[in-house]
Amino acid sequence: MTTPKDFKAEIGSDMRVSQKRVLFITRRTSPQVKTHDELKVQTFPEVLIRAVLAVEVLLVALVTMSLLFNAPLEGLANPTNTPNPAKAPWYFLGLQEMLHYFPPVVAGVIIPGLLVVSLIVIPYFDINVEAEGFFLKNRKQRFLWAMIVSGTLSLFLLVFDVYVALVPTLIMAGLLLTAAYSTPETKNRFRRYLALKPISWWIMTWFLFELFVLTVVGTFFRGPGWSWVLPWRS
C-alpha cells in the first residue's frame, strides 16, 4: 500500500497555466466603495499645469533671491581656529539650544530620537483618531492629567533653567486651561476654537511652538559662548 499523498494548495508553486478571473456580482455594495458624488478633474492637463505653474512661481522666487543675496562663504577651514559661536545650520539650532542646557546624550540623542519616534507613531496612536475637543469627554479626569503633565514639564524646564522652552510651555498650558473652561457654545470665538481641539493638536502645536521659538533664539539671539545677545544691537 502506498501512503496517501499530502496535497496542499501552495501559493509559492510555479503556475504553469494562467488563471481565469471570475467576477461575482453581488447585490450589496462593498464597504470599501463609497457612493459619494464629487466633481473630479483629469490630472492631465488640469492638475499638471497647476503643479508646473506653482513650481515656476517658486523658481522665480528662488532665482530672484539668488540674484539678490549671495550664499555665505567664509575663510578656508581651519581646525586650530574655532569661531565663537560655532553654529550648526538653522534647522538644527533648536537642538543646539537644547545642547546648551542638557548633556549631549539627552539633547543630541534622546530628544531627537524621541521626536522621530513620536512623529512616526502619530497615525498609529489611537487617541489621535477621535478628532474631538479634548475636554468634551471626561472633563475632570482629563483636566487633572493635563495639569499634571504640563506642571511636571514646566517644573522640569524650570529646574534646568531652560527658560527659552519654559515660556512656550507655560503659554500652551494657559491655553489648555482656557480650553478646559470653554465649550463649543462659549461666546468668545477663540475659546470656542480651542475647546474643539483634540489632544493630538495640543501636543503638535506645543512642539511647533517650541521648534519655532528655539530655532529663532538659536539663530538670532545667541552670541559668543552661547550668551544671550540682541540681534539689533550688534
Binding site: E38, V47, F69, E74, P83, A86, P89, Y91, V109, I122
Partner: protein
C-alpha cells in the same frame, strides 16, 4: 505650401515613431487624458483624476508640489556644480572660490543651490505640519505619513552633508559640532562618528564621505522614497479630503450643499 506649426505637430504626433513612444495617442477626450497619465512610467504614480476642490490653493497650499520643485532645482543645479568641484581638501575651497569669481554664472548657480536647499527644508517641514493639521495622516494614509517622515530626515541629511562641501570655516565647525553629538550615543557613539568621518577628525576623508553621501547615496534614497510617497497617494485613495474626518463630518455636508 508651408503648413502651420499646429499641422506639423499633428503630423508628428500621428507618426509611427511618436505613436510607438507615446501610446496614448492624440486627442483631448477623457480617455486620452487618462491614458496620458496612466501610460507614462513617471506620471502613472499619480491618479488619473483628482477631486476638483483639492485644486484650490487653500486645500494643500501646494506644499508637497513645491517641495518636489525645490528637489528638482537642487538635482539640476547640484549636477552642474559637480562639474566644477573636487571633493579634496586643498581643492574644494578654491573650487568654490572659482565658482564665485571665475566660472560663468557660477555664483548664481551656487546661490540657487544654497537657497533652494534652505527652501526645501522649510517646505518639507511646512508640508508635514500642514498634513498634520488637515488630519491627512489618518488611516489609510498612515504608512505614507511614515514615508514622509523618512523623506524629512533624508532632506535634513542631504542639507547637512552638503553643508561641509565648501570647506570653509562655517562648514568645518558646523560639521564638527554636529558629529560630536554622534559620539554621545551610548556605547557606539565613537564608532558611529568614526564611520561618518572616516577618521577621528573632520578632514579630507570626512569630506569625501560627505560628498558621496550628498551626491549619490542620499539622493538615490530620496528618489526611491519619493516614488513610494507619490504612488501611495494614489493607492491610499488620492489627496485627503476632509469628509472622512470624524469631527467635521456633520458640519461639512451642509457647507457642501451650499456650494453645489
Amino acid at each position: 505650401m508651408p503648413g502651420t506649426f499646429a499641422s506639423y505637430l499633428e503630423k508628428l504626433e500621428n507618426s509611427r515613431v511618436w505613436r510607438s513612444i507615446f501610446r496614448s495617442g492624440r486627442g483631448t477626450s477623457t480617455l486620452h487624458n487618462a491614458l496620458a497619465i496612466q501610460q507614462n512610467v513617471f506620471l502613472h504614480l499619480f491618479p488619473t483624476k483628482v477631486r476638483k476642490r483639492m485644486l484650490g490653493l487653500g486645500a494643500t497650499w501646494y506644499l508637497g508640489t513645491l517641495t518636489l520643485g525645490t528637489f528638482i532645482v537642487l538635482v539640476v543645479t547640484g549636477v552642474l556644480l559637480m562639474l566644477y568641484y573636487h571633493p579634496s581638501v586643498p581643492l574644494a575651497y578654491s573650487d568654490v572660490k572659482d565658482l564665485q569669481f571665475a566660472v560663468s554664472s557660477g555664483l548664481f548657480l551656487r546661490n540657487l543651490h544654497r537657497w533652494s536647499a534652505h527652501a526645501m527644508v522649510f517646505l518639507a517641514f511646512a508640508h508635514m505640519f500642514r498634513v498634520f493639521y488637515r488630519g491627512a495622516y489618518r488611516a489609510p494614509r498612515e504608512f505614507n505619513w511614515v514615508v514622509g517622515v523618512v523623506l524629512l530626515l533624508l532632506t535634513l541629511l542631504l542639507s547637512y552633508t552638503g553643508y561641509l562641501l565648501p570647506w570653509d570655516q562655517l562648514a568645518f565647525w558646523a560639521i564638527t559640532v554636529g558629529t560630536n553629538i554622534a559620539s554621545a550615543v551610548p556605547l557606539l557613539g565613537d564608532k558611529i562618528r568614526f564611520l561618518l568621518l572616516g577618521g577621528n577628525l573632520v578632514n579630507a576623508n570626512a569630506l569625501l564621505r560627505f560628498y558621496v553621501l550628498h551626491t549619490v547615496i542620499l539622493p538615490l534614497a530620496a528618489f526611491l522614497f519619493l516614488a513610494v510617497h507619490f504612488w501611495r497617494i494614489r493607492k491610499d485613495g488620492g489627496l485627503y479630503v476632509r469628509e472622512s474626518e470624524p469631527g467635521v463630518k456633520a458640519k461639512k455636508t451642509s457647507e457642501e450643499q451650499e456650494s453645489l
